[in-house]
């Protein structure tokens, strides 16, 4: 069933530019639909000895919202992104160093968190840091009639009874991160997970296309 759905299924149009900022070590700007995020990655850098980790790199994520004032929900996003990136980056290759990820929200028309995670992943690819796998985030919403909508638009999110976001790795398509709002049953969650897992292929293919287009220029 999932396979059939996917044949003519499309995510919101994604547009991306790598190396958008010329001073940072890696950067990417990504638009998924109308949501736009800019991410810059710097590192491995020297950091103060109190925050150094002898085993692996210390990850610091700074999320700047459009308004500029940091809020509690920004802290939550920073935490989600930091933990997702920690699984993806080979931190053990850069012990006692710091990696700073700075995220600037430019436009938010629904699905900000998945866009941010995908953009962060692209910026990490551009920075040349060693990674275990790439990650892809896909969101879905449950509308009042009980239908699942993959990659919902802003209106659909506003009227939805529940939203679920999943992050998958590229090796085995295992779930890396999952977060949800609203109420839903266990069966719905499992179905959403499987459909998002299938949809994550589109994001991985998009990564490959982007990297391929930049390799032709640089290589």
């Amino acid at each position: 069933m999932v396979e059939e759905d996917l044949k003519d299924f499309k995510l919101k149009p994604m547009k991306c530019e790598l190396n958008f900022l010329n001073k940072s070590d890696g950067s990417a700007i990504l638009a998924q639909g109308e949501t736009v995020v800019l991410v810059s990655v710097n590192g491995p850098l020297d950091i103060k000895s109190t925050s150094q980790n002898m085993e692996k790199a210390t990850l610091e994520v700074i999320f700047s919202s459009k308004g500029g004032k940091p809020t509690v929900s920004d802290r939550f996003k920073e935490n989600v992104i930091r933990q997702t990136c920690e699984t993806a980056i080979f931190g053990c290759l850069y012990p006692r160093t710091g990696i700073t990820i700075t995220i600037q929200e430019l436009e938010d028309y629904g699905g900000l968190l998945p866009t941010t995670i995908n953009c962060t992943c692209l910026a990490l690819l551009n920075s040349g840091l060693a990674m275990r796998h790439v990650v892809a985030a896909v969101g879905c919403a449950l509308d009042e009639a009980g239908n699942l909508i993959i990659d919902p638009t802003n209106d659909q999110i506003q009227t939805a009874t529940a939203t679920m976001y999943f992050v998958f790795d590229s090796r085995e398509k295992n779930l890396v991160t999952g977060f949800s709002t609203g109420t839903f049953g266990e069966g719905v969650y499992d179905e959403a997970l499987e459909r998002c897992r299938a949809a994550s292929d589109l994001v991985f293919n998009f990564y490959r296309d982007i990297v391929a287009s930049y390799c032709n220029v640089i290589g």
Binding site: D25, P44, D46, A88, Y94, P95, L125, G128, R132, V134
Partner: protein, 236 residues
């Protein structure tokens, strides 16, 4: 995902060819590849390359330098600490350079190196757990082309550009050296030092190098000709 040599690869991909070559002989895996229990996995985004018989690496884009043994780097002296200099080479921590590792240096005869000097040195020790160590002599105790770089102009660029201009197949330096005289030192850490007779010529070399990053070989040749004709036009 399974990939072949020459493909565009992403972190988490693996290549069966490496394993099959590895079954017969020793395999050298370069940057961007890492051996785990069952497979050799890709860790960087780029193009998987192979040199016969058994060397594999990933050609990727990078700006931040990770020190690597045996590479030449351009650094700036930050601090004199006892019998070592601390040199910034753009990595995550400063590198150390002993004052004895210059040609003809003894405990009494110290080399003349000031804070702020630009140094072209070879990386002797590079490990993720230790700070890198530099030397300004080769294994025969001769300085060769290493040492303090006086005058000139230093600028930064991506690590790919350094590899590109140093590759024997790149026509950039060959075309430029016929047009006007200049000196150039390229550090693998993404820094280039140039020195020409006049300021205008120095800037022309710098612009030619930075402009070559996204050009093909033929385009580089035309660009060098253009720059040379502009330069001579203004001087005369």
């Amino acid at each position: 995902m399974k990939v072949k040599v020459g493909d565009v690869v992403l972190p988490g991909d693996y290549c069966d060819e490496i394993a099959s070559v590895g079954a017969k002989s020793k395999v050298l895996i370069g940057p961007g590849l890492k051996k785990e229990i069952d497979h050799v996995f890709v860790t960087k985004a780029g193009v998987l390359k192979k040199r016969n018989p058994s060397t594999f690496w990933v050609d990727s884009y990078q700006k931040r330098y990770i020190p690597c043994r045996g590479e030449n780097a351009i650094g700036i002296v930050h601090q004199k600490a006892g019998d070592i200099y601390r040199v910034d080479i753009g990595g995550s921590c400063t590198a150390s350079l002993s004052y004895l590792s210059f040609e003809g240096a003894t405990k009494k005869n110290r080399p003349e190196v000031q804070i702020g000097d630009v140094i072209y040195a070879k990386i002797l020790v590079a490990s993720k757990d230790m700070e890198p160590e530099l030397v300004c002599v080769d294994s025969h105790g001769k300085k060769g082309c290493l040492g303090v770089l006086s005058d000139g102009f230093v600028f930064k660029c991506s690590l790919n550009l350094i590899r590109k201009i140093l590759s024997p197949s790149c026509p950039l330096l060959d075309s430029l050296k016929n047009e006007w005289p200049f000196e150039l030192a390229a550090g693998m850490n993404g820094r280039i030092w140039i020195k020409a007779n006049t300021l205008r010529e120095t800037i022309a070399v710098g612009n030619a190098i930075l402009g070559a990053e996204y050009l093909s070989d033929d385009e580089i040749k035309t660009m060098c000709n253009n720059i040379a004709s502009i330069l001579t036009g203004h001087i005369s």
